[in-house]
């Protein structure tokens, strides 16, 4: 992987961190607000089912996670375990895909 791609990954991680910062705040604020009168699955589904706004919000949340986590993990694997090279990059691409798939499965689960 060349230095340009590595720089791109660095920028992508910072940008996704900024998105995550906002997403986590909105998510937590919604949770605090939503559990005031008790928490039930029906209430959550009532809010999210068919709501395009929540679909877009949580899809963005999942995308930011799928970008942010593998890039951070890449540094951890390199620096702590000395694992570098193509096998690590492919492993992390698969991990990013797994995060995205699991995340979107959950998002669609409460939207549809």
């Amino acid at each position: 992987m060349n230095a340009k791609t590595q720089t791109f990954l660095w920028v992508a991680q910072r940008a996704s961190a900024a998105v995550l910062g906002i997403c986590v705040l909105v998510h937590l604020a919604t949770m605090v607000y939503a559990v005031r009168g008790g928490l039930s699955a029906a209430e959550i589904l009532g809010r999210t089912r068919g709501s395009v706004a929540w679909l877009v919000f949580y899809s963005l949340f999942v995308l930011a996670i799928a970008v942010h986590v593998p890039i951070g993990l890449r540094a951890v694997l390199g620096e702590w375990l000395g694992w570098r090279g193509a096998a690590r990059e492919w492993g992390l691409i698969l991990f990013a895909a797994l995060l995205g798939w699991m995340g979107m499965r959950a998002v669609l689960g409460v939207f549809l």
Partner: protein
């Protein structure tokens, strides 16, 4: 009197204990010199100027990298005991002497050489002393190449390819040098995993630099410039 443990041998060596008389205004380098001249002439160590200019005498004193010629014993001794070891993150040649090649090779890899456009037949290029670029250069230009920052950097110990704080600081002073013509090559050289983007901003380099330089600030500047170059598609 104080007990001084000094590293002997290569990486797999061991500490040897010496008893040394305390004196007023005694430096750590004075202690090492006394041991070599009076107690054990086989002790290897490196020094030159003795006044904090040359960057030769850095060692690890009680676990912290320091310039020994300007470090008073009073400041670092604990319960009349002191431990002196070679710098971390560099191969040990013998006793307190490390092989600095890797450290300076990385300056070259970071394109730490100035390359201007003018020849000696032309007039000097004027640089305004109070221009923002020159002020940024001033903040990092007094580096003496002692490798205290390099020895204190955890990222260097985790990633042997990492250029390190001193080389990146040098690159930054040249990136901000209005006369230099190779800034883009330099930004390419310092980008990515081996360069500025691996810095964790622990700031050990900034805390330990004997010249009060902040390589962390220089590295942050490089991250900014490299990112801008990426967006401008000039990287």
């Amino acid at each position: 009197m104080m007990q001084v443990k000094v590293w002997r041998g290569k990486a797999d060596g061991a500490f040897q204990e010496f008893e040394v008389q305390r004196h007023a205004s005694q430096t750590v380098l004075d202690v090492v010199t006394y041991i070599q001249r009076a107690l054990d002439p086989t002790l290897a160590y490196r020094f030159a100027c003795r006044v904090g200019m040359c960057g030769s005498c850095a060692m690890t004193v009680n676990g912290v990298a320091r310039w020994t010629c300007r470090t008073h014993v009073d400041k670092v001794v604990k319960n009349d005991q002191m431990e002196i070891a070679p710098l971390r993150n560099l191969p040990v040649i013998r006793d307190l002497v490390t092989d600095m090649r890797e450290f300076f090779d990385k300056w070259a890899k970071a394109k730490g050489q100035f390359s201007g456009a003018l020849t000696k037949n032309e007039d000097f290029q004027k640089v305004k002393p109070d221009s923002p670029a020159r002020v940024a250069v001033d903040a990092g230009i007094e580096c003496i190449g002692c490798a205290v920052c390099y020895s204190s950097c955890d990222v260097v110990s985790w990633n042997p390819e990492y250029l390190g704080p001193a080389a990146l600081n040098r690159a930054w002073t040249l990136v901000k040098d209005e006369r230099d013509t190779h800034s883009m090559d330099r930004l390419r050289a310092v980008a990515g995993d081996a360069g500025c983007h691996s810095c964790h901003t622990h700031m050990s380099c900034t805390e330990r630099c004997p010249k009060q330089i902040s390589p962390t600030a220089a590295i942050a500047g490089l991250k900014r410039e490299v990112s801008l170059a990426l967006f401008r598609k000039t990287l």
